[in-house]
């Protein structure tokens, strides 16, 4: 479903501040794969995710989603196939717009916009159903502005929006990092439910080692712009935080504590 080959990206090339964010990353996800990417700060996790989403241009390499070469496409053209939940809930949702308007925008991710009204009563019914499923009572607040919601509610909404139409590729960018631990677990639960229900091909970046070990069928560790370790299925299931840390001398406190 995702085929990323030999991705390279250097920031500030030719200056003393040059930093190679992606040295040579090749990553393939089969349909239904749930890959979790970990690594210390500056390892290139976020750059990898942003390169796949289209937010970061790559210097060389090739990105295919579902057999289509999207390397030269800007983010908004890739959005038909790719859904994304951002780390910051206020970035991933439109605060001054209502819950139902946000849902309508997400539902039209793959469609052209016209001069038809953006909301209808049948659409509202659909949104109410989807929102009721996450149990936060948002289905009773369709007409309220999203900026009135708490961070956790907003991120849950972002999640529902991302999977409102089934994406070919689902990107999660440390999407629980800004939430308190309890809310983070609720959002993570909703995430795995959505992934399982629609068999979504998922790439999740996280700092949370427990989440990395607990969720997904593949684990990818990055360091200095490269994939340095991969485990899948049984091998992944056998991993523990201690073993990972011990084996790879992970120095990042955030990863240990996360």
């Amino acid at each position: 479903m995702l085929d990323a080959r030999a991705l390279r990206r250097a920031f500030h090339p030719g200056t003393p501040n040059q930093r190679v964010a992606l040295a040579d990353v090749t990553l393939s996800l089969a349909a239904g794969d749930f890959a979790v990417v970990i690594g210390s700060n500056g390892a290139g996790k976020s750059t990898l995710l942003n390169a796949i989403a289209g937010e970061v241009r790559i210097d060389s390499g090739r990105i295919e989603v579902d057999g289509c070469d999207v390397t030269a496409e800007p983010t908004h053209r890739r959005a038909a196939a790719i859904a994304r939940v951002f780390q910051d809930p206020s970035v991933g949702t439109a605060g001054p717009m209502t819950i139902e308007e946000n849902m309508a925008l997400a539902e039209r991710r793959a469609s052209r916009n016209s001069l038809r009204l953006g909301l209808s009563s049948t659409a509202r019914r659909r949104y109410r159903e989807r929102l009721a499923a996450i149990g936060l009572g948002l289905e009773e607040r369709l007409g309220q502005k999203v900026e009135l919601l708490s961070g956790g509610q907003r991120q849950s909404l972002a999640l529902v929006m991302a999977v409102l139409t089934t994406p070919k590729l689902f990107l999660l960018d440390e999407h629980t990092a800004a939430l308190d631990p309890k809310t983070a677990d609720v959002v993570m639960q909703a995430t795995t439910q959505a992934v399982a229900r629609d068999h979504l091909t998922t790439l999740m970046v996280t700092h949370n080692m427990q989440h990395a070990l607990h969720y997904g069928n593949r684990l990818i560790m990055m360091n200095e712009g490269r994939i340095v370790f991969e485990a899948r299925d049984d091998e992944k299931a056998a991993l523990t935080v201690d073993r990972l840390v011990h084996r790879f001398h992970l120095a990042s406190d955030r990863m240990l504590l996360g």
Binding site: P74, H76, G92, G95, P96, R109, N113, L115
Partner: protein, 298 residues
Amino acid sequence: MSIIYAYINLVPVTLMQSVIYAFAALGIMIPFRLLSFPDLTVEGSFPFGGCVAAALIAARVDPWIATLAALCAGALAGLATASLHLWLRLNTLLCGILVLTMLFSINIRVMGKPNIALFAYSTLFDNLLGAMTGNLAARIALVVFLLIAVLLALYWFFQTEIGMALRAVGASQSMARAQGISVARYTLLGLGLAGALSALAGALLAQNQAFADVSMGFGVLVNGLASVIVGEQLIGRATLGRQLAAPVIGAVIYYQIVSFALALGLQPSDLKLLTGLFVIAMLAIPVLAGRGSVLGNR
């Protein structure tokens, strides 16, 4: 008593002025509020609309066509500002200043001279009102009718798929892109629309006063901003309807306040200073009270 009397005499004229400037206030609100694009182009697109309409009417073009041409000219000014920002990555305020400065020369080129008088030509008001054209109440009614039609059209437009996508760009560009929305396309659309509204105000003002001058845009931005702020303080911006009505209601009240100040004996030349101070005060109150900024979107 004479102050009150002087003011009351001015109410209808001021009302006429304010409903015309209300279009420009809408053209200021849309980039600032719905697109989060601080835009100064109105100082250029407003006189551009007036000058294009006046030049065409003086060339015996039908006033309807002249007004529509002014609308298109204003849209082009907005597109120019948006393009400078999108493709040259210049600061949005600088883009507006560049465009309004260049428009000064263009306006003189369009008219062939710094101003045009239209007393000898028939305007939109003469065409539509016929014998009633001298009646101020009829002229006000005509502009109010047009204003309500434009408000309803905008209210509908911003709830369509395209209008919602435009507002999403103003809310969060990252979110918009992730939902398949082209930030460039909708920024162009929003600024084009704002420019058209500002130019419409200029075209109506030129036809109402039968006079267009290259410097007629001076101060439009600050007056319009003051109108938007007054309107939002009064009715808020909790819903799309209120957000759209605020500039209009604000313009009507703001120009009455100005008129009252003039009746009190204030020098017209001091108005720009006072308006500026008023806008600064309105912007400063929430900041000093620790409630974030009025013009910041969130």
